[in-house]
Amino acid sequence: MKNNLKNTIKIFHGPQHPGITGNMSVELDLLGETIKRAQTHVGYLHRGFEKLVERRTVVQAFTIVCRICVPEPDPNEENFARAVENLAGLEISEKAKYIRTMVLEMQRLATMFLWMGGQAGSIGLGLIPQWSVCDRDYMLDLFEELTGGRVYHMYAFPGGVRRDLPEGFLDKLSDLLDYYEKRIIVYNNTFFDNVIFKKRAIGVGVVNRDEVLKNGYVGQTMRACGIQKDVRKDMPYLMYDKLDFDIPIQQDGDVYARAIVRRDEMLQSIRILRQIIKQMPKEGDILQKIPKHRKFKLPADDTYVQTESARGAMSYYMAGDGSEKIRRMQVRGPSLVHAYTLLEKLLVDSELADVAMTMNSLGICPPEIER
């Protein structure tokens, strides 16, 4: 190992690099174009959320959890809300459950469009990012109407959701889904079937199937290796056990397989949303007031909740101590293991030009590694 590093040069891929998925860097030892050693560094985005919630009451802490992950804040809100509900024994109404499921699926679609832009941009297909970010914006417009914010929604409150559906919202959503279905055909032609993408992606970044389960890889990384697991099916939360959907899988475990899994998941999300639009209850409470709103005391207990985000299972550990403050909240997103255990291994003996593509397809998001 030491000898291999003899004639190498060292470059830092990030934190200021268009191909990186955020504020992190990968330290690469290169022999020619080939990577001999890769090491991940984070620390450019540490905001100390886990410490901050210790100083706040439950209601106050709720507004910052969504900031843990920029591209998809809603799984964080859902996890936080569900952890508090578990600890306090709150039961939320059916309508609130449906709305929260809907928001999660809308968020999944929006995140997938953003991912598509990154994935295509990282191999030099400059057109796709322009389109997909535009398409994501239509979803953000709907979020704006529903929650009042485009990116950080602060919507799923412990006990339900904060606002009711605006008038005509479901029709707008249904129209948008029609549009998305048409767009996915366009993306199929221009991106997923594109010979450039195929040549670059097939056989690159192959994840070893045997270590997937043991090392705790989640999301598309796992499903592209032919393992059909999804938190929505295995430990159903909210309304997912009443909805009908499939878990798409692929067998090859490379970048291309992960892209195809993501595309199929987008179609599944559209399918789920259509069912939700049909089944959404007309009447019903949306928010069950948590007792003593401002002075709400969290019981002395702990819990662990998991939500399927667009990049894999995202888990929260939460413990209360009988006071108004949260004693400990730990965030375990999919990126931590992907960025260290997996990425450092995958990059060895691959090419420099493939780094950005591999990172993107693993769904690595630095804000959630260091919180």
Binding site: V42, G43, H46, G48, E50, K51, L52, E54, R55, N86, E211, L213, K214, N215, G216, K229, V231, D234, M235, D301, D302, T303, Y304, Q306, S315, Y317, A319, R327, R328, Q330, R332, L336, V337, Y340, T341, I369, E370
Partner: protein, 202 residues
């Protein structure tokens, strides 16, 4: 559940916390062997996360290992308590590679030592020389105030409670004054035409 009877043989108790969540508490000495039997005998092959909770008042850390089977349909939390002073845990990175990074983070954030861990280097905080920040006796507010000044322009902020009290007192004083004035006025009027008084008496 099958696992419960297996754990009973080891004289441990499995507690169901939520629908898909179980927990088992074990003494520190038996932690490593229990984790190994979870992996090898009970089929819990995934280590999902390791987390640490600072129970400052009682003087220990509560460590939680979250494990999943290959079906990933429930989570078991293996919990143990270790002393806060000179906290140290056995490293699991040889068994679960992902434990390496989780332990590195815990070392930085809580100051837990892992003898035999190969890369206990900085994780997110480079050149940090204060107390490990996620220990609960580390005061974030004090640290921030010592590092950054507060904006001076906001010095005119008032304490609303004080203002309320002031206003209430002012109101009371005004009321009292008005009352006194009214009384004085009445007395004066009474003096000026005593005939009124006579009328009233009648």
């Amino acid at each position: 559940m099958d696992l419960a009877s297996k754990l009973e043989k080891l004289s441990l108790q499995l507690v169901q916390k939520q629908d898909y969540l179980y927990s088992v508490t074990v003494g520190f000495e038996r932690l490593e062997s229990l984790l190994l039997s979870f992996l090898n005998e009970f089929g819990y092959i995934t280590l999902d996360s390791i987390n640490c909770r600072d129970d400052l008042e009682d003087g220990f850390f509560t460590i939680t290992y979250c494990l999943q089977t290959k079906d990933r349909d429930h989570v078991v939390m293996v919990q143990t308590k270790i002393q806060r002073e000179n906290a140290s845990l056995p490293t699991m990175h040889t068994i679960w590679p992902q434990a390496e990074i989780m332990e590195r983070e815990m070392h930085e954030m809580f100051g837990v030592d892992f003898p035999g861990h190969p890369t206990l280097i900085d994780f997110a905080l480079e050149y940090w020389d204060n107390m490990p920040p996620l220990r609960r006796d580390f005061d974030t507010l004090e640290y921030v105030n010592s590092m950054n000044p507060f904006r001076e322009q906001r010095g005119d902020a008032l304490d609303a409670k004080e203002e309320m009290k002031k206003k209430r007192e002012a109101k009371k004083a005004a009321k009292l004054k008005a009352q006194q004035e009214a009384e004085a006025k009445a007395a004066l009027e009474a003096k000026n035409n005593p005939s009124d008084e006579v009328k009233n008496e009648e």
